[in-house]
């Protein structure tokens, strides 16, 4: 069954407009648990309490920004409402860059775009982005939130990503370089060999969330009343010299390759 669009808008590039529908591309498969009251095995609820533990009803709750420890500036709903961006249906594309200009850590949520009416403009834009090997930088307002994003072609279709704010991404440049001595030449040569032996193509089919399956199987069995006994797994960690670890790894891999 086809998914339902979560939003509709127009991709705007100069004077050209491409009407699109937005669909979630991600579907989180994490095993979802609920928090329960241990005694009654029922779902718990949440409320806001003051320091004495007394409940404060929703209509009495105010929001404040802590300017220094213990000092708050209170903001009321009309004030916060004024900060909301104006509603709009436009996804404005402001610039185009090479995909590597947007590092992985900026990508947040992916959405498929589908044509809303005119299919030829939609597929022409996807093709043009692919031919030019570029991603568009997008700005739009959706559900009272301002978003910055990246527009790119994924095979034949368009995908729009929300991007994280610059303030949200921690850069390695703000961190100290790791301590310790630099690797020597021999180690570098061996490591290079090892990485070379393991070089390949990214293939998403190679990776299955096996742990998720184990958890689900365990839950099914436990629901039927016969949970298997689980044993404590001991982690043993042997410290070996870097030299030995590397040469052993290379040896094993070579054997595996030959056997294959």
């Amino acid at each position: 069954m086809a998914a339902r669009a979560i939003w509709k808008g127009d991709l705007k590039m100069g004077s050209a407009k491409v009407p699109v529908k937005l669909y979630s591309a991600a579907q989180d498969q994490t095993v979802r648990f609920h928090i329960l009251d241990k005694k009654s095995k029922t779902r718990v609820k949440q409320h806001m309490v003051d320091e004495s533990g007394k409940e404060v009803p929703n209509e009495e709750i105010r929001k404040g920004f802590e300017v220094e420890p213990g000092t708050f500036v209170i903001l009321d709903e009309p004030e916060l409402g004024k900060l909301e961006p104006e509603a709009s249906r436009e996804i404005e594309i402001t610039q185009f860059v090479a995909p590597k200009e947007i590092p992985p850590e900026y990508y947040d949520r992916p959405y498929y775009l589908g044509p809303d009416g005119d299919q030829s403009a939609y597929f022409a834009l996807a093709q043009a982005l692919r031919n030019k090997e570029k991603e568009g930088v997008a700005h739009w307002v959706m559900r009272k939130q301002r978003y910055a994003g990246a527009l790119r072609a994924e095979d034949d279709h368009l995908v729009l990503f929300t991007l994280r704010n610059a303030e949200e991404v921690l850069s390695a440049k703000d961190l100290p370089r790791p301590a310790g001595r630099a690797p020597d030449k021999k180690e570098l040569t061996m490591a290079k060999q090892l990485v070379g032996l393991l070089e390949g193509e990214f293939d998403p089919d190679e990776y299955k969330d096996e742990y998720r399956q184990r958890v689900m199987e365990f839950i099914k069995k436990k629901a039927k009343g016969h949970a298997p006994k689980l044993h404590l797994v001991k982690t043993k960690r042997k410290a070996a010299s870097l030299d030995k670890v590397l040469s052993r790894s290379i040896e094993t891999l070579r054997k595996e390759k030959k056997a294959a």
Binding site: A2, Q46, R164, P176, P178, P183, V233
Partner: protein
Amino acid sequence: MPVDLYPGNRSSRLPLRMLGPEGEPLSRHYYSQETGDDLEDHEMVRGFEYENGKYVIVTDEELERLAPEQSRDIDLRKFVDLESIPPLYFDRSYFLAPSEGSEKVYKLLAETMAKSGLAGVATFVMRGKEYLVAIFPENGILRAETMRFKDELRTPKEVGLPDMKKVPAATVKKFENFIAKHSDKHLALKELKDQKAEELLKLVEKKRKQHKDVVKVEEPEERAQGKVVDLVEILKKKLAGKQKAA
């Protein structure tokens, strides 16, 4: 290679606190629907709803024991060109810090990957979840980007997108020209600034100067001590080799 994982993203959501009528900070509390009583941590359990209203209780210990030993280490079995991974897979970002005794391997791996331009791909289990990660160096530090598993992404077909149609070459050309005209060498970081946060801060500063709606509350000791642990600070110390395992 034993390593520790630290978040590489931080929430930019401005921390607006919930306050009571007199401006006193409030906190969120769980309570039982059955009895209405407040619940402490040890009075709550984790349950999976397998039928409407029926739950299977799963403990931390069980989740821990369900992970096979070899799944707990980050075992890099494949190195790929980072740019060949479609961004659809990227989820959250972390930094890896060497754990005791692994500083040498860590540096060696970072340097080797930096030279080859490759990223290592691996899966591992941590705190009740399996992660698929791409590991790549940035300024001598290893970044681990968690990725979605394939079944966590819909396909265009599942979404119901139409198949590609043949389009007039002139329309493609028109878009190509537009792209060429508006292409830049670099992404302007100002495109990614948090405008709402800036506007909110401005409003806060203005009200503060006018002494409007400013409340001071005595900071209870508990709150002052219970300050959020700053993971970035711990990571910095860890990288600099100044602190043992957190």
